[in-house]
Amino acid sequence: MAQPTHATTEHTPTSGHGGGFPPFKAETYASQLLWLGLCFVVLYVMVAKLALPRMAGILADRRARIDGDLGEAVRLKGDADAAVATYEKALADARNRAHAIATETRDRLTAEADAHRKSVEAEFAVKLAAAERSIAASKTAAMSNVRGIAVDAAGAIVNRLIGKAPSEAAAAAAVDHVLKR
């Protein structure tokens, strides 16, 4: 930039540098323009042909990658949702099937139990009827025996009282008369 320090009187802006304000020295313009042109053309070609296409490529790649990854994520989420739906459907089916099996089994067992009970009841009814019939038979037999015994007993009692046995027919008639009452 400059020589350091020393406030000296002879070192004024107009002395020492050939005079004039450097940016307005026309004799330096040609060289500056030449180098500016050269450098700017090199810079422009470098930027236009190499740097910008490369950076545009990098940015496009990144955007494509991000979009691709997002698309993949959406697809995978769809897959996951579908799997969840399938699972829930399978679960619901299994639950329905289990319910159906339970209902069917319960109905079958109820029907079997009913049938068994009916057959047992029928069997009991038959046995009961037989028992009632035999009781009635026994009762009838017993009742007919009572009349005979009563006739005999009446004959024997009269014989003891009067010493003379009544006729069988008279005793039987008397017993029948009493039994009818």
Binding site: M1, A2, Q3, P4, T5, H6, A7, H11, T12, P13, G16, H17, F21, P22, P23, F24, K25, T28, Y29, A30, S31, Q32, L33, L34, W35, L36, G37, C39, F40, V42, L43, Y44, M46, V47, A48, L50, A51, L52, R54, M55, A56, G57, I58, L59, D61, R62, R65
Partner: protein, 250 residues
Amino acid sequence: MADPIHQFEIVNLFPLGKIGSTEIQFTNSALFMVVAVAVTGLLMLGTTSGRQLVPGRLQAMAEVTYEFVADMIRSTAGEEGMRFFPLVFSLFCFILFANVIGIVPYTFTVTSHIVVTASLALLVFFTVIVYGLYSHGLGFFRLFVPHGIPGYILPFVVLIEIVSFLSRPISHSVRLFANMLAGHITLKVFAGFVAGLGGALGLVGWVGGTLPLIMVIALTALELLVAFLQAYVFTLLACIYLSDALHPGH
């Protein structure tokens, strides 16, 4: 005190040869133009050579620059403006690195010369005219005829539009040139105070010299901002002017 203008001197470093009777010299200005181009090349090509999907710091820097300039064009000139992307990107990088490198002591600030900034501004100016005439023919001159202006003041408005259009390269180039020049002179003046006080007044000067030193530090930070800002402003104006070439009817 050190001469604050000395830093802008063009110095011949070594001769390269002769074209006819004109001697071709490699100057300090040329050196720092080459450095600016080299730094741009290094940043834009060296750091992106890996083409990493997840960028490292340097590649991220190149990508941020790319996106920054691309967004600037899209917001001012629209998607069609992207055809000027290489030009605008070259302008931005060249001016930015020339400005920033110029802040380093003992370097030369390429953009502190009016001939350089004027050349770049005229490059934009003629690109606008040539592209505007090429793509719109005479329709390009609708640029000077705004819509919705009453007939009786239209001639004045057109005149003003033409004058403002023609004065664009002047304001465009002088803004960058003057900012760089003034900033570097101010830096140099305050730095000269530090050295002058220290050299002339002994211990008192050493103590007194800290004040302008603090000033120099603050100004260097400011100049860094200005270096970036002026590169941005120059490029943004270039985008706005180029937008006229694309949409002359407004």
